[in-house]
């Protein structure tokens, strides 16, 4: 029977932090930043920059643009320091600034439409219905043939660069709102609560979007891993 492979090189699953107001350590950091301490800025950048670029990428079409959006975001953060009251968490606040800048930029570059509304998406099954026995048969709704076991694959296959880029590619091809949800939840490790708050989604909507996104990415990964391994 299947079990989760003990992938030694993957980091342990992160604890998701719940939505909080700005914490004590962050208050200190912000103070230091307001006083112009470069070390405080460096600390903040080390913490958030990579994430900001990744999230920017879910709005704009290429990495260079994402880096530009990230820079603009940092400048806006610095200019907005005096106005930040700490009622939202620092992360949420930075994200809102980022979202504004990224959306504006995306629209300007006319890459993608604003968040596609849930209503536009027709129902998408998580798995192609062809994979299951049709109605009327004794085993209607059951797998015609089982999905592959990934726990018996050599680890290099799973954690390699190619696999990684397949996942990134699959995420990039998602509708923008699904891309944003899966990026924030599964790459950035935000909690469901945080994502609902940041993207203004109901709990149910967030879950449906996550479900659709994950299903598509799994399909893409499955298609890739099913290929014969070329030596």
């Amino acid at each position: 029977m299947a079990f989760m492979p003990q992938l030694s090189r993957l980091p342990a699953t992160r604890y998701s932090r719940s939505v909080a107001q700005v914490g004590a350590a962050e208050v200190e950091l912000l103070e230091a930043l307001r006083e112009g301490q470069e070390s405080a800025f460096t600390a903040l950048v080390e913490e958030y920059h990579a994430s900001i670029v990744r999230v920017a990428r879910t709005y704009v079409s290429n990495r260079a643009t994402a880096e530009e959006v990230a820079q603009e975001t940092w400048l806006a953060v610095l200019n907005g320091l005096d106005r930040f009251e700490g009622r939202a968490s620092l992360k949420t606040w930075i994200f809102r600034i980022l979202a504004n800048i990224a959306q504006t930029r995306a629209q300007r570059d006319s890459r993608s439409l604003p968040f596609s509304s849930l209503g536009d998406e027709s129902s998408e099954p998580a798995v192609d219905p062809e994979r299951f026995a049709p109605a009327g048969e004794r085993w209607a709704g059951h797998w015609k043939s089982y999905p592959e076991r990934w726990d018996t694959l050599p680890e290099e296959r799973l954690v390699g660069d190619e696999t990684r880029s397949r996942i990134e590619g699959a995420i990039e091809r998602l509708p923008s709102i699904q891309r944003q949800v899966i990026t924030l939840r599964d790459i950035e490790g935000w909690s469901a609560e945080e994502v609902c708050s940041a993207l203004e989604l109901s709990e149910t909507n967030q879950r449906v979007l996550l479900h659709r996104a994950r299903s598509k990415v799994r399909q893409a990964l499955e298609a890739y891993l099913a290929q014969d391994y070329e030596c």
């Binding site: 029977m1 299947a2 079990f3 989760m4 492979p5 992938l7 090189r9 993957l10 980091p11 699953t13 992160r14 112009g36 470069e38 800025f41 460096t42 950048v45 080390e46 920059h49 990579a50 994430s51 670029v53 990744r54 880096e67 820079q71 940092w74 400048l75 610095l78 200019n79 099954p125 998580a126 798995v127 299951f132 209607a140 709704g141 059951h142 797998w143 089982y146 999905p147 592959e148 076991r149 990934w150 726990d151 799973l158 990684r164 996942i167 990134e168 995420i171 899966i182 599964d186 790459i187 490790g189 469901a192 879950r207 996550l210 479900h211 994950r214 990415v217 799994r218 990964l221 499955e222």
Partner: protein
């Protein structure tokens, strides 16, 4: 599992996200797990989903490039000076 509690594989794959989120009601969670115990196909599917999520999580390994850090320090110093 009683007949009334039966779950097909096709139904199960639509519940995977709720299961992993912990939002299924206890009875539905029970039906889900009962089915996984009995069905290798769905056990493999659940495993695939978990593996995919763990691999996605690992996409965070990249950190800020030296060029970006330099560039941002420049931004900071300008902001400070201005």
């Amino acid at each position: 599992m009683l007949i009334s509690e039966d779950l097909t594989c096709q139904e199960l794959v639509e519940l995977v996200t709720e299961y992993l989120e912990g939002t299924l009601r206890p009875k539905d969670r029970d039906r889900f797990e009962q089915h996984v115990v009995l069905c290798d196909g769905c056990a493999y599917y659940l495993d695939q989903m978990r593996t995919m999520i763990a691999l996605t999580d690992s996409l965070t390994e990249e950190s800020i490039t030296p060029e970006a850090r330099e560039s941002l320090l420049h931004v900071f110093r300008e902001w400070k000076g201005g």
